[in-house]
């Protein structure tokens, strides 16, 4: 598969990266459902165009700080798929010797670090950029985070720090309109893009499901940073179809409305009638919040407002997308098969 280049928009190469990301995320979901991956699993399905479109601009020596949806940018950056799979399968031959897991993937070789603390990617990227400024002039770094992180103090501090120190960094806000299982707009005031512009940095708003738009805007902002003109901010609207993490309470109700809905409704109805407590109106509003979140998630799932991968595929001649996707799927399947064999062998040798 041809690697995307930063010089010009290459629909084939970028679609290829997106397909690799999508199939990798699907493989993770499968492993998680089989109970082979422990803990939380935050998938990046819906963020493929952002990861591929931004990371295509990175070169050797550039830094990458990502959040708890860590794998899409790392896949695009070329981190070994088998090493990541082994890591998440808990094998000590994994990327981080089974110490990190999917929220804490680190590849020193790629100068790529993830973090499970919301918002930390922004100041971390500032640090990578600071080192670049001194040690690797012309190098940049990218920090990924979501719209939920835009209310985190350290992130807003980082935007200011990057401007104050004129750091070569691109902040990428993946706006999926959720903050865990809270609708972002209910806890956020002002516009995200206005906040970024308030720090005086060039800020672009794009449709994050459109890989061409992401690629172009990111390219412009990264070039700005490479030339020593300071940071930039990219706001990319995307979707979150797989919940905050697999098996989050909202997702569970949507997946099994009868069983999970009943489990939720029983105690809720009991609580809403229990005395003493608040007045009826206040209780009704609390209930409305729960149903509002469920409704919004259901609506989002029904609408499927465009799929990034499908849209990128339509940029290619008929048949071409399917061929590239088959190739990506086979690469991921191959890595998965190798990882599972490796795991089995290592378990056997441990047991023997």
């Amino acid at each position: 598969m041809r690697a995307p280049s930063a010089d010009r928009f290459d629909a084939r190469a970028l679609f290829g990266e997106m397909a690799r990301i999508r199939h990798f995320e699907q493989a993770l979901a499968e492993l998680w459902r089989e109970g082979r991956i422990c803990g939380e699993m935050h998938l990046g399905i819906g963020e493929e165009a952002i990861a591929a479109g931004v990371v295509a601009h990175l070169r050797e020596g550039d830094g990458l700080a990502v959040d708890h949806r860590s794998t899409p940018p790392l896949v695009a950056r070329g981190v070994d798929l088998e090493a990541m799979l082994l890591e998440m399968l808990g094998c000590e031959d994994g990327l981080c010797r089974a110490r990190g897991g999917h929220m804490h993937l680190f590849s020193a070789e790629h100068l790529a670090a993830s973090s499970g603390i919301v918002g930390a990617g922004a100041p971390m990227a500032c640090g990578f950029a600071l080192a670049a400024q001194r040690l690797r002039p012309g190098a940049v770094s990218v920090g990924f985070f979501g719209d939920g992180a835009m209310n985190q103090g350290m992130l807003l501090e980082a935007l200011n720090l990057a401007q104050a120190w004129r750091l070569p960094v691109l902040f990428v806000c993946k706006d999926n309109r959720w903050a865990i299982t809270t609708r972002s707009r209910t806890v956020t005031r002002g516009e995200i893009i206005t906040r970024a512009r308030a720090f005086g940095m060039p800020s672009e708003r794009v449709d994050g499901l459109d890989v061409r738009a992401v690629f172009k805007a990111a390219g412009k902002l990264i070039e700005h940073a490479r030339r020593g003109h300071g940071p930039g901010f990219l706001l990319a609207r995307c979707v979150r179809t797989e919940g905050h993490f697999l098996g989050d309470p909202v997702l569970r109700v949507l997946d099994a409305p009868l069983r999970e809905g009943q489990a939720l409704a029983g105690p809720l109805l009991e609580a809403v009638r229990a005395q003493p407590g608040a007045r009826g109106r206040s209780r009704a509003r609390a209930l409305a919040r729960v149903s509002g979140v469920l409704g919004a998630a259901a609506l989002e799932r029904m609408r499927r407002r465009g799929d990034a991968l499908g849209r990128a595929g339509r940029l290619l001649p008929a048949g071409e997308a399917a061929r590239i996707e088959r190739k990506a799927a086979s690469e991921v399947r191959g890595a998965l098969a190798r990882a599972l064999t490796h795991l089995e062998l290592s378990l056997e040798s441990d047991g023997g």
């Binding site: 010797r97 670090a113 350290m154």
Partner: protein, 365 residues
Amino acid sequence: MGELTYAQAIEHALAQAMADDERIVILGEDVHLLRQGLAARFGHERVRPAPISEAAFLTAGVGAAMAGLRPVVEIMMVDFIGVAFDALLNHAAKLEGFSGGRWHAPLVVRAACGGWYGDGGQHEQALWGMLAGIPGLTVLVPSTPADAAGLMLAALRAEGPVVFLEHKLLSDYWLDYLGGGGRENVSFDVPAAGARGWVDEPIAPIAFGLAARRRKGKDISIVSLGVGVHRAMQAAEELAPLGIDAGVIDLRCVAPLDRDAIVEAATATGRVLVVDEDYVRGGLSGEIAAVLAEERTGASFARVAVTDTLPYARHLEDDALPNVRKIVAAAERMVHDRARTRTTGNVWPYPQDKLTAQSTVLPGR
């Protein structure tokens, strides 16, 4: 090099290391003034003043360390770690573990700590016990200029994150900045041996996790660090005419902790008195008690530590901190108590019956 102040000693260590290693940079609030000598020598790119955004610039320091620099990040006072704790707790301290030992952050976090000048408990805490409780962090608390220089140099060469705590009562510029403010009519009980002393040229790094014996004694071993060492030394002087021969151990590092030195001191005298400017609960003094129990020393144990929020007024503050009077009293009680296995001393606010009711089985090493 000769006689230096505690602050000069640290500055010399930094200068020596910065001359050898271009990757060392200093970041933090006001460093253009606080470290003006280093800025004038090594240039403004390497001594970079930061906005009052500890969360951002400390996390950036971790990132910069991961990406090839060796930053010294100054957060002025250790109390301010509160707003940037995530950077230490979840990033700096976790990297080596999470990456399976494949990535390191050679970062030094420099912060002033400690009281005795009446600034209140939001600006003069010790906090080393809490920090040392986090796996992945090295925590240094030097009590003399020579140690400050040697430990700072070692920190600048270390592969992982190090918290270097500089006691404000020993660092003349901090004390003048925060306590004196240029006034001649205020005074502080500054321990001379900590504020000024001999420093070798060139400075040699001091290995982490090695305590120093400051005084030999056969009746009781006082274990302390920072200003506490000097208070303990004075207490030992006052105990001598009372017929009590007290030894003093200076831990110098809270993490890694010199367990061997603690066990040796306990074995030598059978009594360990911990003098700690940090909080009594969940910290260093309890950790030392655990070492004594785990190593089956059978030594009696007591502690003089901080139990409450440090008050503002000087006389109240003095009462709250481990002063010489309290150390002498605790040592006397221990030595005159024949039942060596009983817990004694300054362990309030816990009632004795509660303490003895807690039985914990601890594994040996």
